[in-house]
Symmetry: C2
Subunit: 332 residues, 2 copies
Amino acid sequence: MPTIQEVAKKAGVSVATVSRVLNDNGPVSSNTRKKVQGVIDELNYQPNLLGRNLRRSETRMILVLLQNISNPFYSKIVKGMEDTAHENGYNVLICNTNTDIDLESIYLDFLKNKLVDGVIFTCTAMVTEEFNKLAKYYPVVLCNEYNKDIKAPIVTIDNEIAGYEATSHLIKLGHKKIGMISVNNVGSSYDRMKGYMRAIEEAGLEVNEDYIVYHTFSYKGGMRGIKQLFELDEPPTAVFCISDLIAVGAIKELKSKGLRVPNDVAIVGFDNNSIAPMYDPSITTIAQPRYDIGKKTMEIMLQRIKGNENNNHIVKLEHDLIIRESTLPSVD
Amino acid sequence: MPTIQEVAKKAGVSVATVSRVLNDNGPVSSNTRKKVQGVIDELNYQPNLLGRNLRRSETRMILVLLQNISNPFYSKIVKGMEDTAHENGYNVLICNTNTDIDLESIYLDFLKNKLVDGVIFTCTAMVTEEFNKLAKYYPVVLCNEYNKDIKAPIVTIDNEIAGYEATSHLIKLGHKKIGMISVNNVGSSYDRMKGYMRAIEEAGLEVNEDYIVYHTFSYKGGMRGIKQLFELDEPPTAVFCISDLIAVGAIKELKSKGLRVPNDVAIVGFDNNSIAPMYDPSITTIAQPRYDIGKKTMEIMLQRIKGNENNNHIVKLEHDLIIRESTLPSVD
DNA sequence: CTGTTAGCGCGTTCAC
DNA sequence: GTGAACGCGCTAACAG
């Protein structure tokens, strides 16, 4: 791999001139430009980005922290981020944190140590206080997850309204005993639950605490949730699940109990994951504008890097209720 | 963010000494070490990795190229890679290529321009010739995908035997008309098909070319595959699908035709994706040792970086046939 | 045990 | 329009 020095020597010019040709800034006569470009092509020269980045003290790289790439929910979000980044001459790197605080802090060192220009969190194991300190000094944006004490730009949907709409849909179908399978300690879930409660109260029904159960964000969480709900004397006739993955576990468990979805129990999921339309029955769910969430998040990040973005700032994008087989009783 | 200079000045020593404390190499008296460490902690100093990497001309970063993070198949593979990398003081970056040749070449510039020490491909849009040239000069390893002309280390399973076993399983269950939904131009699919054919021939049956259809690596591909197979006068009674996602599409389409799986048509998938046990019916499939594939791939990469690894070298790991509901007729 | 110095590869002022 | 020289922040070779 040749260096800029060798190009310069071979072209019979100084490194400064090569640099000018490379970056197309500063004046170069068309003759020498042609000559230099010729050598660049001939040697197949590519500038060493380590040197360039050190000199410019920017990398034009944005790191996206994912709990785990296996969650297909994030693929379109990342696509939105990537497209926006590329349009602006930035690149996106993805790292798995596996909810491991040590791993997370290694990746944050990339930010502190100038290997990337900014970090987008889709989750974090850090305590809020520490997170806020980080956000104070470095470009950091939160995507889709949050809690109310966080001081950093946040892009999300209005989870309270989404929870309200999901529950209202079940109420309109005539359900009066509506369960909810949620997870603990997540800001978005908390808001969805508040929407769930508001819908029930506004419909003149009563919130039954036993109907709200907390499990993990997974297929198994859904199975356990149903098990718990169906140990009650009066099990619900409809269940709002905090994610499609939970909904899938719930449906699978109901089927194994010999119950039919939606005829015996209606199920609503959340996220409109790729499984939702594929499952049998296909799953009624809340679709988040994932691409736009990613796009908006990256836009804010790039603004933040430029310095024209304050740090306390929440953007809520529109969601959609998508009605599918899991809540619409067939005629049989 | 302080520099090493400022730390040195504040501690009253030279930058060399700070560097020695930082990297814990070279002799430093315990007194000055303590003093320097004190200043480092006080200033919360972290070394600028751009400077360090430029100096060392290594980054201890490995780039993993994924077609798309949405494919959950790769999550465990990546986990295997990450664990192995971390054990050796390396970090893993993930990038989506979206099968976009231009994007891919941008990421390859990271390699050529010293931003990462090696690249692992799980897919590539490059032509083989160009790929081989790249592999000749830079540390490159191929994971799970290949064609026979490629000259780079490859880690995979024995797809021919896997295809053979999947098909033999169906034959043992009494099926004689066995279809296959495959995809074009992928080395692994080609080998699976060869195994499929060998199983059929060894059982004394005849390969029917109409039973092999080619579609995309997706849910929709599975639906279209079934549609095509069931336009035949004598549709198959069992179908071997090249991936679980295709199998899911196939099952969904069969159900919408009023056919039962497995009682009317048996289905085998491939990969043991997370959907496979969750789907209804759960899907018989070939499980690849994903974690070990990732681990082995990274081990070879690290050897390759050290220079003790030749470039023409294929590792095949063990797979497993997992039998589930989609091939086992229930008694009804 | 410690400091001085050179240079990794590049971009950029400032002369000319 | 072009080149010489400096420095981004760090590590390593050498001298003391």
